[in-house]
Symmetry: C2
Subunit: 433 residues, 2 copies
Amino acid sequence: MPVFLDTTAPGFEAEFSALLSAKREDSPDVDAVVSGIIADVRSRGDAAVIELTSKFDRLDLTPETLAFSRDEIDMAVGDVTPDDRAALELAADRIRAYHQKQMPEDASWQDACGATLGWRWTPVSAAGLYVPGGLASYPSSVLMNAIPAKVAGVERLAITVPTPDGAVNPLVLLAAQLSGVDEIYRIGGAQAIAALAYGTDAVAPVDKITGPGNAFVAAAKRRVFGKVGIDMIAGPSEILVIADKDNNADWLALDLLSQAEHDESAQSILITDDAAFGRAVADAVETRLQTLERAAIAGPSWRDFGAVITVRSLDEAAELSNRIAPEHLELCVADPVALSQNTVHAGAIFLGQYTPEAIGDYIGGPNHVLPTARSARFSSGLSVMDFLKRTTLSQMTPAALRAIGPSAETLAQSESLEAHGLSVRARLDQLNR
Amino acid sequence: MPVFLDTTAPGFEAEFSALLSAKREDSPDVDAVVSGIIADVRSRGDAAVIELTSKFDRLDLTPETLAFSRDEIDMAVGDVTPDDRAALELAADRIRAYHQKQMPEDASWQDACGATLGWRWTPVSAAGLYVPGGLASYPSSVLMNAIPAKVAGVERLAITVPTPDGAVNPLVLLAAQLSGVDEIYRIGGAQAIAALAYGTDAVAPVDKITGPGNAFVAAAKRRVFGKVGIDMIAGPSEILVIADKDNNADWLALDLLSQAEHDESAQSILITDDAAFGRAVADAVETRLQTLERAAIAGPSWRDFGAVITVRSLDEAAELSNRIAPEHLELCVADPVALSQNTVHAGAIFLGQYTPEAIGDYIGGPNHVLPTARSARFSSGLSVMDFLKRTTLSQMTPAALRAIGPSAETLAQSESLEAHGLSVRARLDQLNR
């Protein structure tokens, strides 16, 4: 059974705080192993990567077969059904269209003293995308990571995807092809992250690494951070549904289960202003769990971490939502746009009962890589910005330097940084001659 | 002596690579100490913070005196000279004006299938800014961190600044006042970061922590990352000056020294297409070092890490600049705007000989918190974006769901995520009835 809370109950605050701070994931300490793997790849390059791939993926590679050839990709992609291909193409088109709108603009202006100021956005030169192998090898994640990189203008985009025992997911290769990925390596684990960050003879180093992975991959990303940029370290998935009673209980049950089926550590929460409706949804979840393919995952997630919270009003629901700062937030209420004005900490908001969260996972357009574990309080989902960086620009004229230089000199002196002040003073002296 | 390189020399590539990968900073391993301090503050709150402040800063506080009172701030600020105040006010105004232009726009549009898509930017609710005490207690850093936060709309902005033996820098308090800072605590070190991240009775927790600090502060920021957002972990400062021979050697010598005087680990590099001019600048550095107040810092920095590189052409200079990815880049050439089109990896570019880097440290307008250690390849300087996060929005209509829902269902099935597909199918079945 999930936990049932009610904001009018005396113990609510304590129970809600416990729900917020519940630890849902054990992070095994794999740092020592990962540190050894990274050092090995740095010193022995391809030889280390090949050995580790043989050991962990039972696959024997050579420097020449580390990457898929164009023919191998074409051949595998040929196995994709027309329906799957059409769906993936529609998703790619919609994700591309959404992310193209995110491209920020450069700026340049002259201020009152004659200085020209501004900034310029430029893409990261090379990016690497980690794609998990096996069960969690999701073509949708390839689209969600690769398309923003290519929209940003990343020149060289490499993917690493382990292929245990040589098993390849053709949809992953098709997704890479549709996204414009340049290189695909059949390697995984910490060794793939090390190869991308430091480079080997066969794998040129990249500047930024994104994409989900297991504990080894996450630890490796943390370790190479600084040498390269990384995206967030994602935790288990979460959904919060805020719903009034005028909803279909079964639809919302399925929405809650669509998070729960990802992972036993996933969390699904319903907030409603109608206690009876909350119970109806919980009943519908149990009914669906009886037949759901992934009930063995979704069941424990729902029973261990699920929650149904009854509130006095939708205003109160918004307050709790802001404390939860959910990764995914569905607003199934009469005026979802109005309510969304008050739910300010959330990775993605899905408005109204015809927008199940699964639309956002695949085909809506916005990114599905979103901040977990309450980090929507301070961070955003993946976007083109993750593959761009901003250079600020300034150009003084002699007049501008005369106008503002003396204040810079004053501040430099107050911070006891003499050369800073002198670098301005020397120019002013010349100009004032 | 700094190293002198020439791209026409046979050993250049090896020497340049060595320069790029030179380790300039020892990172003492303080992680165990920091981990203990954080655990202590989490369990004992203010009592731990007060004890640690007594131990490290020789200052006895109570929960009531952890924060400066408004009267204490007003009194200290009264000591600031009119010149210093005017300079700080001008700087604050210019930094604010620049950062106001960075505010990104929300978006909302309807696509061809009738779906409404978009995103919304909202500020982080509470931010904390670490300000070092002692020598490196720079009012300019307070402006550069606090103003973007307030421009972004951060409601609650707290500063922690240690005051060893009770010594306070009135300019730091004035900078905080001018920036609209809400709370100022006289605490520092890992204990200040822990208090900001986890909260105590006297210090409410924040969502994001920025600002420079020593090895203890950096280690603490790394540890609390995830619980809160952090800005970059800054390394020692760097400048690259690209100059042709039509420049004043003394001005450029001062620009190089203005980085070198920050820190013995700072790095100053000159690239020029005229070997004789390069030597003239190096000579001018030596001359200035004879009288410079901070010669004991700037001298070792220049001699251990400085470099003068002679190139065949400015195109070659741009290529090397992109490999260095400098924090600060000065372009002292006839057409700096043209050259800047090719120098794409840099934190901040200063165009032309009348724009010494020191202008950017204080008063130009752009931020002086910039990516170090080659991280300009993948990251940007501090901006209002660091205090904002983006929530994506999507709303399907029945028609939109009919148009794109089936493809989402197909993709969900291909990823074996049944509940995802069913959450779409249940709605489509109802709509198709």
